[in-house]
């Protein structure tokens, strides 16, 4: 059983390129089809995991592992998710530290770097679109981004500000707006 768990999450770790959310259908197929979780459990798990810090795929694997085989299960599933990328990246780090200054590699990465910036900008805009933020609501993330970018504030504080802001808004401002009947 442990071995099956491990291999399942190795597979999940291996076949998802480009990060967390690409993994979801794969995880669902593996975990639900094997009868480890039913569909509703998986949806609940997904909702809770989204609201946790850390690496999404690792969080899901820990949850599933814990549900099936307690702590040992969670460690095995987490290792399954982590190890493939760990070894692949380690191999690349060994290689890249030697070839970084190669003329060809320099040229290739001169081309890649601006594209990387574009590849980060696109999910930013699609996230803003998906959240359907109104103009007023966009002010806060905008301020957050500028504080990190220009004032060198740690993003950790921006995260905390978001949490505090959400609490203050929900329990304080929202009530007041309701009471005033606006």
């Amino acid at each position: 059983m442990y071995w099956v768990l491990f291999l399942t999450f190795v597979k999940i770790g291996m076949f998802t390129i480009g990060g967390g959310y690409a993994m979801i259908p794969l995880i669902e197929r593996e975990v639900v089809n094997r009868g480890w979780l039913n569909k509703q459990d998986f949806i609940d798990l997904f909702a809770v995991t989204q609201s946790l810090p850390g690496i999404f795929a690792v969080n899901i694997s820990i949850f599933v592992g814990y549900k099936l085989k307690k702590i040992t299960g969670s460690i095995i599933c987490a290792l399954g998710t982590i190890l493939p990328s760990f070894f692949i990246i380690l191999a690349i780090a060994l290689f890249f530290n030697h070839f970084q200054d190669n003329v060809w590699v320099v040229k290739v990465f001169n081309g890649i770097r601006p594209a990387v910036v574009a590849l980060i900008l696109v999910p930013c805009l699609s996230a803003a679109q998906a959240l359907k933020l109104k103009r007023m609501e966009l002010i806060f993330p905008l301020i957050g981004a500028v504080l990190i970018w220009k004032a060198g504030i740690s993003p950790a504080y921006i995260v905390l500000a978001g949490i505090v802001g959400g609490l203050v808004y929900t329990f304080w401002i929202k009530d007041k707006i309701k009471k005033k009947g606006i």
Partner: protein, 175 residues
């Protein structure tokens, strides 16, 4: 000493890394490039590119890569990777006990009304921080950026394909 710093930095990334890989980037960059200067901005951008092309989450990839580069040793990778996963472990185990309560908790829901829009700002900061003259060396860089943005936004070109294309373009343009 360096191992201890690495441990602490990645623990912090594991604790405050809300909103997925891209939102985590600005936090990783803040710690690794600005504060500790373990990597140059160019190297950091290269790590992001490599992460996008290889399997696995960017949080793990960056921990493994930076852990190795900073210490020149596999132990650096192991320490950073364990550190970034440890907070998740403790949290998930804790929440497993209170799963039903956590799911519909009004405080968690309230915190997220603020946190969710903020992730947009975190990702934007990651992009803005990388837009400087280390990554944009001349007008050709700007052209590559605009082309990559247009193709990805409009035609949903896969990131791996996009990175390969821009790498080839770099080879040709900087011949």
């Amino acid at each position: 000493m360096i191992y201890w710093q690495l441990w602490w930095v990645y623990l912090k990334i594991g604790i405050f890394g809300f909103g997925g890989g891209y939102a985590m980037l600005s936090l990783i960059q803040y710690e690794v490039v600005d504060k500790h200067q373990w990597l140059s901005l160019q190297e950091f951008t290269d790590v992001v590119a490599i992460s996008q092309m290889t399997p696995g989450p960017i949080g793990i990839n960056s921990a493994t890569y930076i852990g190795y580069t900073v210490t020149g040793n596999v132990w650096g990778s192991i320490i950073a990777t364990i550190a970034v996963c440890l907070p998740s472990f403790l949290l998930v185990l804790l929440i497993s006990y209170f799963f039903a309560k956590f799911k519909n908790n009004k405080y968690v829901a309230a915190a997220f009304t603020g946190l969710r829009p903020m992730t947009v700002g975190l990702i934007a900061a990651a992009a803005l921080l990388l837009m400087n003259n280390e990554n944009f060396i001349d007008y050709k860089s700007v052209l590559i950026f605009l082309g990559a943005f247009f193709l990805t936004w409009k035609y949903k070109i896969h990131p791996i394909l996009m990175i390969c294309l821009s790498g080839i373009l770099g080879l040709v343009l900087y011949w």
